[in-house]
C-alpha cells in the first residue's frame, strides 16, 4: 500500500468538522508556517518538493509561484481552481467533499507564501452541495481564528471567499476563470499578459488546482525534500487518480507516482482489473482531453518498457504512441465499447463547451462533432476520416486557449490508433446503427 498524504484521514468519521480534523493533525502546517517560517521559506519548500500542478498541465507549482510579480502597493490574489469539469475527472470533488479543511488549510499556507490577503475558491456551478461543505469549513476556520485578521497572532490577515461558476468547462481555463470571477462572460483572455503579471482586476494572480493547493499542506508539514523522495524523477509525490469506466473497482485513489499502470489496473489493491472478466481495449489516462491509448500501449511503451503512472512515462513516445497523465481522469474501456461513439461523445462535449471566441475552435469543434455523429450513425464516408484528421490538425495550436488542443487531441489519437474501427463504421453502416459497440480492435491483440 502506497503512502497517503491527502486522503490519509479521509475516512475518519466527522473529518469534515473542524474539531475532528484538528485532532487528526489538521492546521499544523498553518501553525508551522506562520510561526516559524517566512513566506520565502514556504516558497522554497514548495520548489524543493518538485510538485507539479495537478490540474492537468503538470507545470511546476514552485516555478509558477516564483513568476508572480510583486509590485509595491498592489494586492496579489490566489485563486483556487475548483472548476473541475473534464469528463472522467472527479478527484477534486472527492477531496473537497471528504476533507474540505485540507483545502482551506492549503489555501491559508499558500496565500501566506504568496503574500495574498484575499483569496478565492472558484467552484463549479454543478458542485453546489460541495460548495456548502467548503463554505461550512471556511466558517469554522474563521471562528477558530485561522482566517480573518491577525491569524494566530502572527499579524497576517487573510480573507477567503468561495464563488460558484455558472457551469462552463471553459471557466477552468485560468484567464476565463478570472473573467468569470470578475463578473464577465467567461472568455479566455489573450496572453500575454499572463495572470502572474495581470490577473484578477489587473493585479498579479496565481491560479492553482484544488489538489495542488491541498498538497502544500504535507509539503510544509514534512518538508519539501521529504516529499520529493516519493515518486520517480521529475514526477514527485502522490497523485489522486479518479478511475472510471469498465473497472471492477472504480473510484478515487491516491497513488505514489511511479506505480506501474499494470499494477494500478489489475491489482486488487487498486482497480481490481476489468469488470465482468472482460478484456481491456483502450484507456484514456488523464481525462478526456488526452490521447487515447490502445490495448498494446497501455501497460508497455512502444519500446517495451513498463509504463508507469508518471508524467514522463505516460508521455513516452510523444503523441504517436504515448499520452499524458493530465488531470488523472483514468478512463478504461473494455472490448465491448465503441471508440467511434466515445470519440463522438468527447467531441460533442468540446463543441458544446467551446466559448465561441476564436474561429478555429468555434467552427472546428462543431464541424468535428457533426462529422463524427454522421460516422457513428452510419452516414459517414471514407473521406470523412481524413477530413477529421485534417480539421484537428488545423485547430491544434491555432487557438487562444488550450481548449482547441484538448478537443483535437482525442480525435487525432482515436483515428491514429483505431482507424479500422472508423472504416468499419463507414463500410458497415447498418450494423453500426444496430450495435452499440465496435469491432473490438481486430488488428491488435487484446490483453
Amino acid at each position: 500500500m502506497g503512502r497517503k498524504l491527502l486522503l490519509e484521514h479521509a475516512n475518519v468519521p466527522g473529518i469534515e468538522t473542524f474539531e475532528v480534523y484538528r485532532k487528526n493533525g489538521g492546521y499544523r502546517s498553518v501553525e508551522k508556517a506562520l510561526k516559524t517560517m517566512s513566506p520565502q521559506n514556504v516558497m522554497e519548500e514548495v520548489q524543493a518538493s518538485g510538485l507539479r500542478g495537478r490540474g492537468g498541465a503538470g507545470f511546476p507549482t514552485g516555478m509558477k509561484w516564483s513568476f508572480l510579480a510583486k509590485p509595491e502597493g498592489v494586492p496579489r490574489y490566489l485563486l483556487c481552481n475548483a472548476d473541475e469539469s473534464e469528463p472522467g475527472t472527479f478527484k477534486d470533488r472527492y477531496l473537497m467533499e471528504k476533507i474540505p479543511h485540507l483545502l482551506v488549510e492549503g489555501m491559508i499556507v499558500s496565500s501566506y507564501a504568496l503574500g495574498c490577503n484575499q483569496s478565492y475558491i472558484y467552484i463549479r456551478g454543478e458542485y453546489m452541495w460541495v460548495l456548502e461543505i467548503v463554505e461550512k469549513a471556511i466558517a469554522e476556520a474563521y471562528s477558530n481564528g485561522f482566517l480573518g485578521k491577525n491569524i494566530l497572532g502572527s499579524g497576517y490577515d487573510l480573507d477567503l471567499a468561495i464563488c460558484p461558476g455558472g457551469g462552463a468547462y471553459i471557466c477552468g481555463e485560468e484567464t476565463a476563470l478570472i473573467e468569470s470571477l470578475e463578473g464577465k462572460r467567461g472568455n479566455p483572455r489573450i496572453k500575454p499578459p499572463f495572470p502572474a503579471v495581470k490577473g484578477l482586476w489587473g493585479c498579479p494572480t496565481v491560479v492553482n488546482n484544488v489538489e495542488s493547493i491541498a498538497t502544500i499542506v504535507p509539503i510544509v508539514n514534512d518538508g519539501g525534500a521529504e516529499y520529493a523522495k516519493i515518486g520517480i524523477g521529475k514526477s514527485t509525490g502522490t497523485k489522486l487518480i479518479s478511475a472510471c469506466g469498465n473497472l471492477a473497482k472504480p473510484g478515487v485513489y491516491e497513488i505514489e507516482l511511479g506505480l506501474s499502470v499494470e499494477e494500478f489496473i489489475y491489482s486488487d489493491e487498486w482497480c481490481g482489473g476489468i469488470a465482468n472478466g472482460k478484456k481491456i481495449k483502450a484507456c484514456v489516462p488523464g481525462g478526456s482531453s488526452v490521447p487515447v491509448l490502445p490495448a498494446n500501449l497501455i501497460t508497455k511503451t512502444a519500446e517495451g518498457a513498463d509504463r508507469l503512472m508518471t508524467y514522463e512515462s505516460l508521455a513516452e513516445g510523444g503523441f504517436a504512441t504515448g499520452s499524458m497523465l493530465g488531470s488523472g481522469g483514468f478512463i478504461v474501456f473494455d472490448e465491448d465499447q465503441c471508440i467511434v461513439r466515445n470519440t463522438w461523445n468527447f467531441a460533442r462535449f468540446y463543441a458544446h463547451e467551446s466559448c465561441g471566441q476564436c474561429s478555429p475552435c468555434r467552427e472546428g469543434t462543431g464541424w468535428m462533432e457533426k462529422v463524427l455523429r454522421r460516422i457513428e450513425h452510419g452516414q459517414g464516408h471514407m473521406h470523412d476520416i481524413d477530413l477529421l484528421a485534417e480539421i484537428n490538425k488545423k485547430i491544434e495550436g491555432n487557438t487562444i486557449c488550450p481548449l482547441g488542443d484538448a478537443a483535437a487531441w482525442p480525435v487525432a489519437a482515436a483515428i491514429r490508433h483505431f482507424r479500422e474501427e472508423f472504416e468499419w463504421h463507414v463500410t458497415h453502416p447498418d450494423e453500426a446503427v444496430k450495435r452499440n459497440f465496435g469491432i473490438a480492435s481486430s488488428h491488435m491483440p487484446l490483453i
Binding site: I190, G356, S359, T365, R374, K394, G397, N398, I400
Partner: protein, 322 residues
Amino acid sequence: MVKVIIDDIEVEVEPGTTILNAARKIGGDIVPPAMCYYSKLQGSGGKCRTCLVEVAAGSATDPRPMPKLVASCSTPVNDGMVVKNKTSQRVYDNRAAVTEFLLINHPLDCPVCDQAGECHLQDLGFEHGKERTRYEEKRRTFDPIDIGDKIKLHMNRCILCYRCVYTANQLTDQRVHGVMHRGDHAEISTYIEKAIDNDFSGNVIDVCPVGALTDKTFRFKSRVWFLKPMEASCECTKCAGKAVIWMFGDEIYRVTGRKDKYGEIEDIDGKTAWICNECRFDKKDKSMWKIEGPRVINRHSVISQNQYIADDQIESKKLTGK
C-alpha cells in the same frame, strides 16, 4: 526603438508595438489580414486568427523560433524579431484553414449581400479560399433581426469578431447588445430584442467586417461599386461631420465614416472620426453636405475602378493616407 524584420523587410518601431502594426508601418501586401482587430477599439483582436504569422526568431537575445503561429495583432515585437508572413507556406496553409472555418457556417449569399465589394471575408476568401466546400452538414442559421429601426442584423453572416460589441462599449453610453450562448451557436444579439438607441450606434455597421450588420436605409438599394464615393463634410454638433457620401447621380444613397485601407475609421485632427446616426441615416440630401472631392477606396476593391482620377493623384493620396 526596436528593429523587426518582417518578410525580409526591416522596420523600426516603438517597443510594445504589435507585429501587425509594425507590418502596417511597412505597408503593402505583407500586412496580415485582420478580421477582428480594429486599432481604434481597445481590447479588440486575437479572436479571428486570420492574422497568424510565423516567428522565425523570437528576439536578438533569444533567437529561438516560437513553436506555434502567433496572432500578429496581439503579439508585441521584440528587438531582433524575425517574422514570416507571406514568405511562409505554413502561415498560408493555416490562414487558408481559418478561412475555411470562417466560411463553413457562412451563407455565401454575396449576390444579395450589401457588404459585397467591401467585405473583408470576401477578400480573404478570394485570397485563401478553396473553390469547393468540404462542409457537408447543415449550416447554422438564424432569422435576421432588427437592431433599432435603422440597423439590420444578419447573424448568419456574422464571424463573431466582437468589433460591434467593443464599439458599443466604447462609443455609446449603454451597451444593450452582446454575445449570447457558446461555441458555434454563439450569436450577437440584443437582450430580448431591445433596440439600440444611441447617437453613435450606427458605427457598428462601419466596423462590421462582413455583412452581418447593415444599414437599413441603404439595404438593397444598389451595389456599392455602382456608387460614387465622395468625401464630404457637414456642420454637426454631435460628431466631426467628416464622412464619405455614396452617390448615384445627384442622389445620396448612403453615408459612411471615412475608412482607410484596413477598413478602419480614419483619424482626423487626432481624433477618430466616428460619425453620428443623424449624419449617417438622416442627411441624405446633397444640400446638407459640402463635397470636398472624390474618395479613393484602395482596399483591393472594385469600387474605385471607374473613377475619373489621374493615376499620379491616386498615388499621392495613398502616400498621405487620405
